[in-house]
């Protein structure tokens, strides 16, 4: 049983939970994820680690309600317990030697990009953060990103806050202005990661994306999280979750992630306010 130490509703859809899991906190690194199971009847769902505090022994997760399990999780309060919490899973992001980086986050994906920005900023790298949201109401982590970036660029689809436009517009502009990034990290909805990768490809800038396919065990056992990378089948849980965005087959990933979407909505009579969840964030 894993106790919830802290909870914040970052916006209408996105929740932050800080969970007591000292073993995981001791080991967690940027880019890794956990798998949770709320209760006895729950599914096993992967979530990327948004932050960790080794001294306090806590792991922070930030997530958006996209189905029954995330809804149950969002309904828990401080002092409640999560039945199962396992991690840290996956290979940590390789950040060594990075001098100048653009960290691109989309919606709730910003939460996953945060530890990467933080680690790079703390290691002395120049970190430009580009965070994109649909509108002003769902902007998250602005203060946090301000603290761990050299420059923070926020853009919204409808222009209701800061710059109007897409993260790819900002990224392209920054590259064209002569910012010679040695790495771009893109985390967010699959289409966003796809288009960021397409944006950087002509410039030959190495681009890492963090994939979140359907998964059960997180140790390579089920093979459900297979993704095609450079024409090869990889398991995101043990070979990833980070991959080279220039060679990921995003369309296949999108197709496979839709496996249970229709069925879940029919079966559980779940009225998701964001049909398609994370992909529309």
């Amino acid at each position: 049983m894993y106790k919830i130490l802290n909870k914040q509703n970052l916006n209408q859809y996105i929740t932050l939970l800080e969970v007591y899991a000292p073993f995981i906190a001791k080991k967690a690194k940027p880019g890794q994820f956990i798998i949770f199971r709320v209760d006895e009847k729950g599914e096993r769902v992967p979530l990327t680690i948004a932050d960790f505090d080794r001294e306090k022994g806590s792991i922070t997760i930030i997530f958006q309600v996209v189905g029954r399990s995330t809804e149950l999780l969002a309904n828990l309060d401080v002092g409640d317990y999560i039945l199962d919490f396992v991690g840290p899973l996956g290979i940590p992001t390789h950040l060594d030697g990075v001098k100048k980086v653009a960290v691109v986050g989309g919606g709730v994906g910003c939460a996953i990009a945060y530890p990467q920005a933080k680690a790079l900023f703390n290691s002395g790298a120049s970190v430009d953060v580009i965070a994109g949201f649909r509108n002003k109401d769902i902007v998250i982590l602005e203060e946090e990103f301000n603290a761990v970036s050299s420059r923070l660029f926020i853009c919204t689809d409808d222009g209701s806050y800061k710059e109007k436009g897409l993260v790819t517009d900002v990224l392209k502009r920054l590259i064209d202005e002569g910012n010679d990034y040695d790495l771009v990290i893109a985390i967010g909805p699959i289409p966003m990661m796809k288009y960021v990768s397409l944006t950087t490809k002509p410039y030959g800038i190495k681009t890492i994306v963090s994939l979140n396919p359907i998964m059960i065990d997180g140790t390579g056992m089920c093979g459900g999280c297979r993704v095609k990378v450079d024409q090869e089948t990889k398991f995101a849980c043990v070979d990833g979750p980070d991959f080279d965005g220039h060679v990921v087959d995003f369309d296949e990933l999108m197709m496979r992630n839709s496996t249970y979407k229709k069925q879940e909505m029919l079966d559980k009579k779940h009225n998701c306010r964001l049909v398609g969840g994370i992909q529309n964030a």
């Binding site: 080991k27 056992m221 089920c222 879940e264």
Partner: protein, 469 residues
């Protein structure tokens, strides 16, 4: 007077036409009278061929004589002297190719029903003697860690705990049991049976820590630093193989591991559980082993109208237990043998719509001792299915190897061990599917036992001596 019947006492089973709609255990087990009658078929041979056919060396004639005379609890003690999981083994061991294969009674007629008797004894014990006292041996003050709580790890843990060791099992999943809980379906091995057997181990003092992925949360070296004097790696063959054919990425293609885990561990077949599973009309299961039978029978129980087993050799060469093949047939699974899948076809939404196969014929006997199948040119045909389950085996999980220095594997990814199950890293032992690739529950248990003995010798000689110096 021995019972001279050439046939085993029949074991009652659920009727095939109704059982394929539920998850109740198919085989119902013997009554005490049936068990005594079957036990009387044993000739109590002096040379005990059955014992040598058993990977864990259960003293079979002795326990059968005890059953024959109605001393069921004594029979239990005899079995558990060497086998930590009798209720499991009585159900899932391939007895026809082990103890029962070499039974003298099998020369003419059927062998003694050793597996059925073992199951009876274990069930009898559980049903009648819940509060029996465990004779705990005093602790010897030495600590051993076991990675993985499948049959191999459990058997190693049981033997070491009986020797007085402080044993901790680390399990990656939220429930212990390994393949016994995620792989083998309820209708073949009720999960309560596994839970009960694990409870017995806990009573012996074995500690089980779940949600611990060794290789990530703790490394093997860190376990050693934490004071575990020896480590046993029983992580199984948990890396599914795929065929590498076109269309395997389509929606509706599962590995048998994923399909069975959703059903067995995550209870996707029970409506109020949250884990989803595909509602299929027509399913192709590729492969001919026990896992393929389990997946096919599960698909039927989930409501599929048509379920096909696609196997590239003939029925005689199928690696599945005979009983499982029969049960599958009785439950309405269609066997399409001598067929090899070449392509999975999808619709415009990326959903599986058909499986393209090619017909096969058998040629010369190959290295596996079986006739080699070869494709008959231009015999391709399509089977309309909406789900494909790939069950062609699995490789050892690479997580431990990739995170531990000094642990060698062979070219198939299997951990290299010597005859005592010692790996190439001092103090680290391994066994079961992590060493052999996908094999049987009982072989994994046998390896766990050999390792337990070797670990005891290692700690008593090397470590204790070092401390004495």
């Amino acid at each position: 007077m021995p019972n001279i019947s050439l046939k085993k006492v029949k074991m009652p089973e659920l009727v095939s036409t109704t059982r394929n709609t539920n998850y109740e255990e198919v085989s119902l087990g013997y009554s005490p009278e049936m068990a005594m009658e079957e036990a009387l078929r044993c000739l109590n041979c002096k040379h005990k061929p059955c014992v040598s056919g058993c990977p864990v060396g259960v003293n079979i004639p002795e326990f059968i004589q005890q059953v024959a005379s109605g001393d069921f609890l004594d029979a239990y003690d005899t079995i558990t002297g060497t086998n930590a999981l009798p209720a499991v083994c009585g159900r899932v061991c391939p007895q026809e190719s082990q103890c029962e294969e070499v039974c003298v009674r099998a020369i003419k007629g059927e062998s003694v029903g050793i597996g059925r008797l073992e199951r009876f004894v274990a069930d009898y014990k559980m049903n009648t003697d819940q509060d029996y006292e465990i004779k705990n041996k005093s602790k010897n003050g030495h600590k051993v860690a076991i990675v993985g709580s499948g049959p191999s790890g459990l058997s190693c843990a049981g033997d070491l705990a009986r020797l007085g060791y402080d044993v901790t099992i680390f399990e990656a999943f939220h429930t212990p049991g390994g393949v016994l809980v995620y792989g083998i379906p309820e209708f073949r091995l009720p999960k309560q049976i596994v839970a009960d057997e694990i409870e017995r181990l806990k009573e012996l003092g074995v500690e089980i820590k779940t949600n611990m992925v060794i290789g990530r949360v703790l490394s093997i070296d860190e376990l050693i630093e934490m004071g575990y004097e020896s480590i046993y790696v029983g992580t199984g063959a948990g890396l599914p193989r795929f065929m590498g054919i076109e269309g395997e990425e389509l929606v509706g293609v599962y590995s048998a591991n994923e399909y069975l885990t959703r059903i067995n561990l995550m209870k996707a077949y029970i409506e109020y559980y949250d884990t989803p599973i595909r509602k299929s009309k027509s399913v192709a299961v590729i492969g001919g082993g026990n896992v393929a039978m389990d997946a096919a029978r599960s698909a039927k129980r989930l409501g599929a109208e048509h379920v096909f087993i696609i196997y590239r050799r003939n029925r005689e060469q199928m690696p599945a237990r005979l009983e499982e093949i029969h049960h599958a047939e009785e439950e309405g699974i269609t066997f399409k043998v001598l067929n090899n899948p070449v392509k999975i076809l999808g619709d415009e939404n990326g959903q599986v719509r058909a499986l393209e196969c090619i017909k096969m014929e058998l040629g010369e006997v190959d290295a596996s001792g079986r006739p080699r199948p070869r494709a008959i040119e231009e015999s391709n045909f399509e089977i309309e299915v909406d789900t494909v389950i790939v069950s062609i085996g699995s490789s050892p999980n690479p997580l431990i190897k990739s995170t531990t220095d000094g642990l060698e594997t062979n070219n198939r990814g299997c951990l290299i061990v010597d005859e005592k199950m010692a790996t190439t890293k001092e103090g680290v032992y391994a066994g079961g599917d992590a060493v052999t690739g996908a094999a049987t529950v009982i072989n994994a248990m046998g390896a766990g036992k050999v390792a337990a003995k070797a670990i005891d010798e290692y700690i008593m000689s090397t470590i204790v001596n070092k401390k004495a110096i």
